[in-house]
Symmetry: C2
Subunit: 242 residues, 2 copies
DNA sequence: GTTGTTGGCCAACACCTGTTGACCAACGCT
DNA sequence: AGCGTTGGTCAACAGGTGTTGGCCAACAAC
């Protein structure tokens, strides 16, 4: 199951002269973290007065590569997502991937630059924080393949796990910090929240376990919302036994 | 980080004439699912009156292979756990793995024959089921490397995901069925339970996220117990909005 | 002693991987 | 025109992978 079948894009395979393929779903996060890509000559366009990118012709190719990489990483994991397959999906040569992103690790780093844009915390009533978070995460995972790729690779690769950990620490921990008053309990409550949140993402978007995928969005919000609410705001007093 | 370091076992590397290496932790599940292993001659010992296995000399080797395979699969995932590395850990030649288990897939199938032996359901009071389940799963994951291997591979491989799904369906669903009266809600409640349970296992044993690994066993039971309790036994009435 | 089976090692095969360097077609300058 | 840069292809390399077949030592049976 590895050959002769272009996944979903790259409708025509032979003509690959000009860019503008079908994809480019959500802005593609082009400029971020290109890191390793050193081409032959010098970079630095001859004269750019403003600091904005001069909109090269290859930007479409870069975006196509990142799109294909996200899809492959999310679907197949790090090892099985070969550079050749990604390049084939993007309609270009594998060496282009190397030239733009240095190596496979750099490609992955550029492909998953996740921004779990957690919304305004103070505008929701305090007893609705759990449900709001669940609903937000549900839409986020559904519309963003990078998260699935990040989680899937994080479970297989040590470096991927570290990157996932970074994302959670930098973006999820502030939410807990803003919600929980006692600074000594922040790490504990963040751990609890992460347990339930990643469990939902894992079973629903990575493993795709049928009983979980059957649940509707409203059911999940109704059931998991109170859980997160409790993990975030409930006082921890009732100890069954010490 | 792939070479020249025998993981934990196989103390002496050169002499490998007789078996009886150090390992063989927990019975090793030898007879189960050997499937593909066809050796050169015919199997079938010349005369075995009783149906019990005649205790071959190679059983120690088989157990060592399975032990090493479990460890490698749990630590490195399916792709990175190479047969050569597993064989090196077990102190034998890679071709032995092939002869005994046919191919890598057969080895994995034999290595993860999981039995999440869920305890007596009726003996615990009904309002303690959640806490009991959490405590049981915690000990199970800690003492059993196969579960980590199964979950890690399940996230990377489609076949692994299916096997994990089988295990959950056959062994976790009966618990929910025995706990929940309404048969129409069984799948939903099983999904909820699986969400929280696998989330704990993922973050604690696969990703090893520091805030989660810092939590003590008692804290986890105290916090996640009520969650499972609610997922299993609470009536689902309070709908925020339809 | 001879013979057959078992347990094991060794060397290779075919394939796939990431990665590299050489080469080439446009296009923008001056 | 001439030239440099950009975007891209092609063919290969070195290394690792699963997998296979041939050979060998020990032991059991006749």
């Amino acid at each position: 199951m590895n050959d002769s079948k272009p996944r979903s894009k790259s409708g025509t395979d032979s003509d690959s002269t000009s860019g503008t393929r079908s994809g480019a779903k959500t802005g593609a996060t082009t400029g971020a973290a290109q890191g390793g890509g050193r081409s032959r000559g010098k970079r630095t366009p001859p004269a750019s007065s403003s600091a904005a990118a001069p909109a090269r012709r290859s930007d479409a190719t870069r975006a196509a590569i990142l799109d294909a990489a996200r899809e492959r990483f999310a679907a197949d994991g790090y090892e099985r997502a070969t550079i050749r397959a990604i390049a084939r999906d993007a309609g270009i040569d594998p060496s282009m991937v190397m030239r733009y992103y240095g190596n496979k690790e750099g490609l992955f780093a550029a492909a998953v630059s996740v921004d779990l844009k957690i919304p305004d915390l103070a505008s929701v009533p305090r007893d609705r924080i759990g449900a709001t978070l669940v609903a937000h995460f549900l839409t986020l995972w559904e519309e963003n393949e990078q998260l699935t790729a990040l989680l899937r690779v994080g479970t297989a690769d040590a470096a991927g796990a570290e990157r996932l950990q970074d994302v959670l620490r930098e973006q999820l921990l502030p939410v807990v910090r803003a919600t929980c008053p006692d600074p000594e309990q922040i790490r504990m409550r963040a751990a609890l929240v992460v347990t339930q949140t990643l469990g939902l993402a894992l079973t629903r978007h990575v493993l795709r376990l049928p009983p979980v995928t059957e649940l509707t969005r409203d059911e999940l919000v109704a059931w998991l919302g109170p859980t997160l609410q409790r993990y975030l705001t409930a006082p921890h007093s009732a100890w069954p036994e010490a």
